[in-house]
Symmetry: C2
Subunit: 325 residues, 2 copies
């Protein structure tokens, strides 16, 4: 194209090239090819929308040298896990990426590759977002949009004394995976690190009408169970020996139990289930390939979480959970 | 409350206190008091949803010492401006805040105060979000949710050669306000700095069916006009002397013209309007208190933006716009 002399030609600055190369291929219906100021989403008829946002910072939520594709997948999956806890179906997401100006193009390429892989698995597409520079660490923020039938969202509030405490999958792999990544724990198979880096959101479980409350385990089993207790005005007792551990976590030995119970980053679901209904729910989850294990019970009395052993003696656990401030 | 010996008591870590103190009062319908993993939003019946996300980084998008209430308002308003450009009505927002662990509580209090003030002005509420620590600068990401009648969203794509170029308000105050904040330009009244720090999103204008394309001026008038041209496959000519400048910008003198045209951060709307329809739209906007000014025309030929003077001679403009990478 010949440019008139003195014209401000419309060649895009590199920010737009970066978006075009790496993010436009991820855009789905409603994203308007990321051409516009905003996305237009036609809500699924007769459904309520469920929305959550989580941020991740290099050096805080992941190690700065972690492969970018895994970082992207973790970012998407921790948000999908919030939908899972509400019993919602994923629809799409918006994303902001703040990265140093010298971030290599290959980092963005790998980041987008991770998103593309998980978009295919979880049936979501990119709706919109923003890329900016930062003098600090890479900082990512993702807003996930999902949907549920009206009134069907499972809440954190709703547990009752007498309900049982159930969890999906295994607990502690996230915390031990972080320890392994930091060289503090052997992880010969890489299983724990993989669980830490790329969690499995427990989407699609038939929780509505079966679980009286649910939360995903992101800040540590004991702390997240504490949230359910506080909102219910009751306590809980969990039996340490019932908490499901992976073979790799079991191999780490009992010294790591406090990290398993308090460490966070599991992205399993923690459920309150009325007595007598857990087995049927567990059977339904098992047909979907998700193990569900009873680990304790909500109790009358103080809003506190007690860990007990098989003889019903209190076990002292040093580590309660994770707080950023 | 008496705690059983050895129990993991459910006292919240300070992250949750911070959310409860500062962010819970901002939560609206659907936010579930920020108690849950996600918000539940009942979409307004028969409406499409419009969504955008923008990030802001201390030291990049604002000066680290800028008052936190103004930072919060700018964050919300730059996102509202994206809705304005689509002709959408605001509904709510999700927010992630990554801040250093030594960020004073007063910073969060002021930040929330700014959000509260603008929530009242723009009739939006907080739906959800996340707070995390960072070893880097404060990094903010906001996802705005709005709604439009089906098919009514105004797009960036749609300008035609022959359409006129119109802008709301005045152009260049954002760039000059930044220059003033950096001590590079006198701003005795503080007007320019106020425009830079707290822009005015042009919500509620009757654009649908009247503007053939729209964009908000965030990256610089020339660059954003270039976006409309590229999507339309046409060029544009704007007459420098027609570009509306505030008294304060005019007082800065002609040496600052390139900054006004290329500097960004105006958050005015740039519209393509079919010939003969601009005056009626301007009159409608005027009744809403928003000036609308014709500054040029979309042209056949190369997808380029040309700045001309009153004698139709090309004016060379050094600065085209802003790119992060």
């Amino acid at each position: 194209m010949s440019e008139p002399a003195g014209a401000a030609e419309s060649a895009l600055p590199s920010e737009f090239g970066l978006i075009g190369r790496h993010f436009r291929p991820l855009a789905g219906p409603g994203a308007l090819d990321l051409e516009d100021d905003a996305a237009v989403l036609v809500p699924p008829p007769g459904r309520e929308l469920v929305m959550a946002a989580d941020a991740m910072v290099a050096g805080v939520h992941y190690l700065p040298d972690d492969p970018a594709d895994g970082v992207a997948r973790k970012l998407l999956r921790v948000n999908l896990s919030d939908l899972a806890a509400m019993g919602a179906t994923p629809l799409g997401y918006l994303l902001t990426v703040s990265a140093p100006t010298d971030t290599p193009d290959a980092w963005f390429a790998a980041f987008a590759r991770g998103l593309a892989a998980d978009q295919a698995i979880f049936d979501v597409t990119l709706l919109g977002g923003d890329t900016t520079s930062t003098p600090g660490p890479v900082t990512l923020s993702l807003t996930i949009i999902g949907h549920v039938a009206p009134g069907a969202a499972v809440r954190r509030r709703g547990a009752k004394a007498g309900d049982e405490v159930w969890v999906t999958g295994t607990i502690g792999d996230g915390a031990l995976g972080l320890a392994a990544s930091l060289g503090k724990l052997d992880d010969p198979s890489g299983y724990l690190r993989a669980r830490y880096c790329v969690p499995s959101p427990r989407l699609g479980l038939p929780l509505t009408g079966r679980a009286s409350a649910a939360i995903d385990v992101s800040d540590g089993l004991l702390q997240d169970l504490g949230h359910l207790c506080r909102l219910a005005g009751c306590g809980a007792e969990i039996e340490a020996g019932l908490v499901p551990l992976s073979d790799a976590a079991r191999a780490a030995g009992p010294a790591w139990l406090a990290d398993c119970l308090g460490g966070g980053d599991d992205y399993e679901l923690l459920l309150a289930v009325p007595e007598g209904r857990g087995e049927a729910l567990a059977a339904a989850c098992a047909t979907l390939g998700v193990p569900l294990t009873r680990i304790g019970r909500f109790t009358e009395g103080p809003m506190a979480v007690r860990v007990i052993d098989a003889a019903h003696e209190t076990v002292t656990v040093a580590r309660h959970g994770w707080s950023h401030f």
